[in-house]
């Protein structure tokens, strides 16, 4: 076999070697040769398959209820009812009478209802996916092929899939899996973020070529270079094993001259908390709460949210947990909120704009849960508002916090006011940072959005990718401005974008004056090591040189000329 390289987007700066296991929930079906199957035989096959599907669904419902929650398990109830539907039974029976084999009868019987659902509005249309799931399950059972159990893979498996959903990744055991690659998805897709949080080698967005890779093939997943190497040469395999082993430091670190820099993790769902702790994160610098609202029919209630926030505080008994209030809109959709289609969603109603507008109820419920959790958090819980552009928005958000506190007080419910902060992601927030910092405990710079808005270059648009350079003086000067505003008003300031997780930039960021850096858990050890290698006086010099640079290239040059060889 000769080596073959497929390219995609690297999700994690890690490489791994392993054996391909295909995970394909959608079974492929060859065309029927001719319609001459015996209806009685095929009917028995169908009934057996349906029985198997029923036990599978019941087992998965149990497991999901245990591992994830009752709400998430509910989808299986709907699947069980679709499985038993008389309309499907009739459709299958008709097709069997026509002499079709059972698997094709199933395909035919589901075709009409799927089309019918797709033609309808809103929630019914989403149910088409449930029908497809049930159909594919039956077909898979009929044509053979065991469903791969992601929770029980042989050690050293590399999972290949069209896509991995949150429920798929939740099952992956990072100790047994050597990595994964998906045909779809980008750096910020769910699967990619999940991989980073567990330091799992992963390449996403490989495209259709991925499907040419055979089950059982040996592959290198190069999450740094964004390559999937099939039947790698010996040299390539060796290179993949040379992971740069950076020591994991569980304790807080300081610069070489003793300045404390908090190094925290960005977390997108509870399953990532333990991984973040294991990588030595001091706490959570960005807890995205969208997962609470995704993949379900109705929003989570106050108690469910309260428990979730407590879990984070308990995982980091000495660390700070910064929770970002719901940040939807833009590219993040939630079906039951019926978000309007917008011409420019990134410049539209998202983040705090929705929380102060159509999602005011959700915002209030979330704040109630957060204030209750703060009562149990010994002052370690912090809450920040996303996409603030003006001091007026902050005023309205703080008024909501006060109103929620008053209501809890009246009800005699235990609560505390957490540390409150604002995300600096818009030019509006940069220019009003003094007014914002005056009224909160901290600021946190979201560099992915800040860069997109400062440069007017959309996050998902590859044609303007070059402009989205967080090292450009245009972005660095915005960062410096926010830091100055925060420190003049005794607020602390952190950074929670991709930029914060790049160890090459740690010295620069320390020099710019950031007190906290928060990143995907995978690079926490690298950044901690970079902090310890930094001297604040040298860092400050580098920062002022970078701020005086005119171009991104000059900034890079200055960083490289001062960075010791690593």
């Amino acid at each position: 076999m000769t080596e073959r390289t497929l390219t995609g987007t690297g999700a994690t700066p890690r490489s791994g070697v392993g054996t391909v296991v295909w995970y394909s929930p959608d079974a492929d079906l060859p065309d029927p040769d001719e319609a001459t199957a015996d209806p009685d035989t095929e009917r028995r096959r169908f009934e057996d398959a349906r029985e198997t599907a029923r036990s599978e669904l019941e087992a998965e419902r149990e497991r999901t209820a245990e591992r994830v929650g009752d709400q998430e398990a509910e989808v299986f109830d709907a699947h069980l009812q679709f499985l038993a539907d008389p309309q499907i039974e009739d459709g299958v029976e008709g097709a069997l009478e026509d002499g079709l084999p059972a698997e094709h009868a199933v395909q035919r019987a589901f075709a009409d209802p799927i089309e019918q659902f797709e033609g309808m509005d809103g929630r019914t249309a989403e149910r088409a996916d449930d029908l497809r799931d049930v159909r594919d399950r039956l077909v898979r059972i009929l044509v053979g092929g065991d469903r791969v159990d992601l929770g029980d893979l042989p050690e050293g498996s590399v999972v290949l899939a069209e896509r991995l959903t949150p429920s798929d990744t939740a099952q992956l055991d990072p100790d047994r899996v050597a990595g994964f690659a998906t045909a779809t998805g980008g750096r910020t897709s769910h699967a990619a973020i999940f991989a980073r949080s567990l330091a799992l080698p992963a390449v996403v967005g490989v495209g259709d070529d991925l499907h040419d890779v055979d089950e059982g093939a040996t592959v290198v997943v190069d999450g740094e270079g964004g390559e999937l190497v099939v039947e790698p040469s010996d040299e390539r395999r060796e290179a993949a094993h040379e992971t740069h082993d950076v020591e994991i430091r569980e304790e807080a670190v300081t610069t070489a001259d003793g300045a404390e820099i908090e190094v925290a993790a960005n977390v997108g769902q509870p399953a990532e908390l333990e991984g973040a702790k294991a990588r030595g994160a001091d706490g959570v610098g960005l807890y995205r709460t969208e997962f609470l609202f995704l993949d379900r029919e109705t929003p989570p209630d106050e108690d469910e949210q309260y428990e979730t926030y407590l879990e984070a505080l308990e995982t980091f008994p000495d660390g700070r947990v910064v929770v970002r209030t719901l940040d939807i809109g833009g590219d993040k959709q939630i079906p039951y909120l019926e978000l309007p289609e917008e011409e420019n969603p990134f410049l539209g109603e998202r983040g705090i704009r929705r929380s102060l507008g159509p999602d005011a109820d959700l915002f209030e419920t979330q704040l109630r849960a957060l204030l209750r959790a703060a009562a149990d958090g010994d002052g370690r819980l912090a809450v920040m508002f996303p996409l603030v552009a003006t001091p007026e928005e902050l005023t309205a958000a703080l008024e909501t916090v006060d109103a929620v506190a008053d209501a809890l007080e009246d009800e005699g419910v235990d609560y505390a006011i957490p540390e409150l902060g604002v995300m600096i992601e818009t030019p509006g927030a940069v220019f009003t940072a003094p007014e914002l910092a005056e009224r909160v405990d901290f600021l946190s710079i979201g560099t992915n959005d800040l860069t997109q808005y400062v440069m007017a270059a959309a996050r998902e648009n590859e044609r303007v990718a070059e402009l989205r350079d967080p090292r450009h003086p245009a972005v660095l000067r915005a960062v410096a401005r926010a830091v100055e505003a925060a420190h003049e008003r005794d607020a602390w300031i952190g950074m929670c974008g991709e930029m914060a997780g790049d160890p090459e930039l740690t010295e620069l960021l320390v020099g710019l004056g950031l007190d906290e850096l928060s990143m995907s858990a995978v690079t926490v050890p690298d950044v901690k090591a970079a902090v310890e290698a930094t001297r604040t006086d040298e860092a400050a010099e580098l920062a002022s040189a970078a701020l005086e640079a005119a171009t991104g290239a000059q900034v890079t040059e200055r960083i490289e000329s001062t960075t010791p060889d690593q």
Binding site: E74, A78, Q81, Q116, F117
Partner: protein, 95 residues
């Protein structure tokens, strides 16, 4: 002889997913033939998840339930309970 009842849907998800599944399950637990009417359309069989989901009935909207058979009153009582129980309690009720 048949019995008929108009019920307003309480669960936030409307007649989809979990509430719909529970509804169809309840229909099939009874011996009576149950049909469901929504808007001006002809009532359809309530024992099919596909049929019930395809109505697209949302929370706060009315549906007509028509039951015909030996346990028609009991069936209507049970179905009314399903349609008027908020979702979180629906889950709790099952344990």
């Amino acid at each position: 002889m048949s019995s008929e009842r108009t019920v307003t849907i309480v669960p936030e998800a409307g007649l989809h997913a979990r509430p719909a599944a529970k509804f169809v399950e309840t229909v099939n637990e009874h011996d009576s033939d149950v049909r469901i009417g929504y808007g001006d359309d002809e009532p359809i069989s309530a024992g099919s998840m596909i049929a019930v989901t395809s109505l697209g009935a949302e929370s706060g909207e009315d549906v007509r339930l028509i039951a015909d058979g030996p346990d028609e009153e009991a069936a209507l009582d049970a179905l009314e309970r399903v349609l008027t129980t908020p979702e979180d309690e629906l889950a709790d009720a099952e344990g």
